[in-house]
Symmetry: C2
Subunit: 96 residues, 2 copies
């Protein structure tokens, strides 16, 4: 299924910047960055629980915000993009 993760991490201090890098790194392990603070991850139920737990441990829940949107398996018709793109489709083959 597609798990969309959006986050706002308060980067007013060094600790915040570190949290931001950690959140991005974990998300990158599971999917692709489509915008600065938006990741699309293809995960199964177990992976989604793991990822959520990892991110919850990283953030400071008094100042940071994490949102998870569960878009299911038929997500392709539910997404539209306009403008510049970054990354490649998460389930697209990588030709190196």
């Amino acid at each position: 299924m597609l798990l969309l993760i959006t986050y706002d991490v308060n980067t007013e201090n060094e600790a915040g910047k570190k949290r931001l890098r950690k959140v991005a790194k974990q998300c990158q392990n599971y999917g692709r960055r489509v915008q600065n603070s938006v990741f699309e991850c293809i995960v199964d139920q177990a992976q989604s629980v793991t990822l959520k737990s990892l991110l919850t441990e990283i953030i400071d829940d008094k100042v940071d915000s994490l949102r998870f949107y569960y878009l299911g398996n038929n997500y392709k018709t539910k997404i539209e993009h306009i403008g510049v793109e970054r990354g490649i489709a998460v389930d697209q083959p990588l030709f190196l």
Copy 2:
């Protein structure tokens, strides 16, 4: 239905900052800001077309990015939040 809008606007110059303000302002007319660059809008089909068209006209599609996620009517079970919250639920009554 719930239309989730995420955006990255390139704010390297004044024109970009202006586009960012305009995008946020239009989104605010249709929903609530849940994160810095993430809006949740409750719209019908016609409103979603209008909003998409308005935003497309504002952004510079060579440097900015807009993504639309259609979460349907049964969106409540599809969203999870962790950490600090901003705004109120989009379909929640406002007691002033």
